[in-house]
Structure formats: C-alpha cells, structure tokens
C-alpha cells in the first residue's frame, strides 16, 4: 500500500496525464483509495496498470456498493495489486442513481421509462460505468455479479447478463431499498395482526 504522500503523488501524476480524473484521495484503515470520476475510471485504471514504477497489474476484485441514502448512491470499487511489491491500491467510482427523483439527474434520464421510482424492482434506468474487461479479463464475471445484484450496467461488457440469480429474476436484490423478502413468522404475539391466516 502506498503511504499517504505516495498516494497523493499518484493522484497528481494521474491528473497530470488525464486532467480531472482523480477527484479525491482517502487513506484510512489501511486502505489507500483513489476516488475517481466515474466517466474516466478506465483512464485511471490503465495508468495504474501500465505506468512504470507503479504497475498494478492484478485486479483483485471488482465490486459494487449501495450507499443509500448517501449521494451519489452507488460505488464501484476496484482493488488493484502489485504482485512483486505486494502493494495494494483501491479505486472507487461513485455513481448517481439515474432513476432517483432528484431534479438534477431526472432531467438527464429519459422521461417516462423509470416507472415506480428507484426501489430496484422494475427499474429500467440503470447507472452506467465503463467496463474494464479489456484491461483486466478477470473483471468479466465480477462485473456480471455487480450487475446481477446492484443493477449497474457496464458499458462495453462482452456478455452482461445475470450470473447468480435466475435469468428471469426481476429486480436488483442487494440494493438497500430492495424488499428483504421472506415471510413474517407467526408468533402468538403478532397473530392478531393476521387474522384468519390458517384459511
């Protein structure tokens, strides 16, 4: 893991090569994180992979997170590893939810498609980010998993479809506003709320 000044240097070098790519850096709990513009994440990843002296050639993980009610709502995390030095750096891209009712984003999303709000069931307007499969082939399945559970569409992915859930499943089950599922368990204390359940 690069130390805090080293991380700042990496951020400045990336910004010198591709202006405005790194928005922020975070160095806490043993993780060095570059927070990058979601539109330019590929440039940051390519720079980290190919620049001599850095060469983070191994993509250990791609995963998504839902920060509801935080804004922007979604985060896509890339964990990079330099094998010879055993150094890790994490890249994080934040994505706004295009189906959310906030006025800034709703004007950008096509009108009338986002029926039923953003609760992950039947939402057709999905957040998008560039796929990094061309840089790291291992990202194929991991991006499919992020798509499967969070509904994040990866532009340019060769085969973006569900990987774990059934193909005809509707909704994005790991979003925070997805209904948790299951059935209420009937105890003596709450059976008054469901009269005639036995019929």
């Amino acid at each position: 893991m690069p130390d805090a000044p080293g991380l700042e240097l990496i951020a400045q070098e990336i910004n010198a090569a591709h202006d405005g790519t790194v928005i922020e850096t975070a160095h806490e709990r043993g993780t060095a994180t570059l927070i990058v513009d979601s539109e330019r994440v590929l440039e940051a990843l390519r720079w980290l992979r190919d620049t001599p002296e850095h060469e983070y050639r191994f993509l250990a993980s791609v995963h998504a997170a839902d920060y509801l009610p935080g804004e922007p709502r979604f985060g896509v995390h890339y964990e990079l590893l330099n094998m010879p030095r055993v150094e890790r750096v994490s890249v994080k891209a934040l994505l706004a939810d295009p189906a959310s009712p906030s006025p800034a984003t709703s004007s950008a999303s096509p009108a009338g498609v986002s029926g039923g709000g953003s609760n992950g069931v039947g939402t057709l307007v999905l957040p998008e980010i560039d796929s990094c499969v061309e840089l790291f082939p291992t990202a194929d399945y991991q991006e499919r998993e992020a798509y499967d559970f969070f509904g994040i569409r990866f532009r340019g992915h060769p085969d973006l479809r569900r990987i774990l859930m059934p193909e005809d499943y509707v909704g994005w089950p790991l979003r925070r506003d997805f209904p948790i599922g299951g059935e209420p368990v009937l105890f003596t204390h709450n059976e008054a709320e469901t009269p005639h359940w036995y019929e």
Binding site: L164, M165, P166, P173, I180, G181, G182, T188, W197
Partner: protein, 227 residues
C-alpha cells in the same frame, strides 16, 4: 422345532386330519388384504434418491452409514437416478434457482413417491428469510413428513423416516392434539383462555368427519362405493 418338522412331513404325506390340520393351517397361514401387503412391502423397501441440497445432506449421508444404518429399515439402496427412486429427502435450503430443478427431479420419479422435508430451511425457509430462498418447499411440491431441526440429527431423520413408513403402511401417526383429544386448544382458535371458540368447534367437527386413510383406496373410489 423337530415337532414342527414332523408335522410338516405329515401334512405333505396327507396324514394330518381334522383338528390337527386346522391347527397347522392356523399356525402357518397369514391372511391379509392385498393392499396392506403391498403397503407393507413398499414401506420396507424404499429407495431414496441420492440427493443433497446443503449442510443437512451431511446428516442424511451419515444416516446411511454403519453407525445409524438406514439398512435396518430397508432403505439402504440409494439410487442415483430419479427414475429408480421413490423417496426424496430435501436436505437443506432450497433456493429459487434450484426449485425448478428439484421439481423436475420430483416429477421424474415414478409413483408412488414420497418426500421428506428435512430441517428448518426446506420446511419454512429457516434463517434465510430473504430474496433467494423458497420459504417452505411445500410451496412447490407435496411433502409427506417435515423433520424439524437445524440440522436434525440422523436419529431425528430416522424417526421421521419411521413415521413415513407408518404413513405408507396406512397407519399414520396422529398429531398430538388428536392423540390427546385436544382439538380446539389451538392458539389461533382460542378467543379467551379455556373456552373453545366457534372456529375451534368447527375445526373439531371437520376433524371428526374425516375419513380414515386407507392404503390403496383413493378418496374418489371410496366415495363411489358409498354411492
């Protein structure tokens, strides 16, 4: 023993007559109905499907081993094909992605077939009250015996298996409310403590009108005989 051998020899020679012949026949001949005989044979020659869903399957496997020895009850031959099996043990949580597969396996099994739902997960969803797990396998297939536990010990599963055998023989175990004549004490049916409600009395009436289960006789033919 020697005496019985001599008696058998006498019978074959035609020497037994009268009371002796009657006694011999009474001792050596068993009369029963064909249905009962068939049910008895079925109950003692079950072939379970080699099939496991999750951690309960470990207990199911150890039920077949020498320590617990399912062979005592005639079910030691686990079949690897649903076409040859007549019992399915749902051992573990049943995810919605697995449900069509299990249903197809069940449909491929030949009649008569029985299903034991093993453990909390397949009976009710268990701890997995979430988007991915079927909340009770009886939503998508008929189930004969539910074995509680998380996971049930092999002894518990054997107990459930014995109950299934009793059910196949046409003498199913009653629930404890029936055995102790306690119909009408269900929590849902109790308006105030001690007094059976109208619903409870109706349930007791429905129970008293139930026909006893006869193996090999479907309810439609039984109704036809009444007409």
């Amino acid at each position: 023993m020697r005496e019985r051998q001599l008696r058998a020899r006498d019978l074959l020679r035609g020497d037994l007559e009268g009371v002796e012949l009657e006694e011999y026949v009474e001792q050596s001949v068993l009369t029963t109905r064909l249905e009962s005989m068939q049910a008895w044979a079925r109950a003692n020659s079950i072939m379970p499907l080699t099939f496991g869903l999750a951690c309960c399957a470990i207990e199911f496997m150890s039920m077949v081993t020498a320590r617990h020895d399912l062979a005592r009850f005639g079910a030691e031959a686990l079949r690897a094909s649903p076409r040859q099996a007549d019992m399915l043990v749902l051992s573990g949580r049943l995810s919605i992605k697995m449900a069509p597969v299990v249903r197809r396996l069940y449909d491929q099994m030949l009649e008569p077939k029985w299903v034991i739902s093993m453990g909390a997960c397949s009976s009710s969803g268990g701890m997995f009250a979430n988007y991915a797990v079927v909340q009770g396998a009886d939503k998508m297939m008929p189930i004969d015996i539910h074995v509680p536990g998380c996971p049930p010990r092999p002894e518990a599963l054997l107990h459930g298996f014995n109950k299934l055998q009793k059910k196949i023989r046409g003498n199913p175990d009653l629930g404890w409310r029936q055995r102790y004549n306690a119909i009408g004490t269900e929590e849902w049916a109790r308006v105030e403590p001690g007094s059976p409600s109208a619903e409870a009395l109706a349930a007791a009436k429905r129970f008293s009108e139930l026909e006893p289960y006869e193996p090999g006789v479907s309810s439609s033919t039984a109704a036809g005989e009444q007409d």
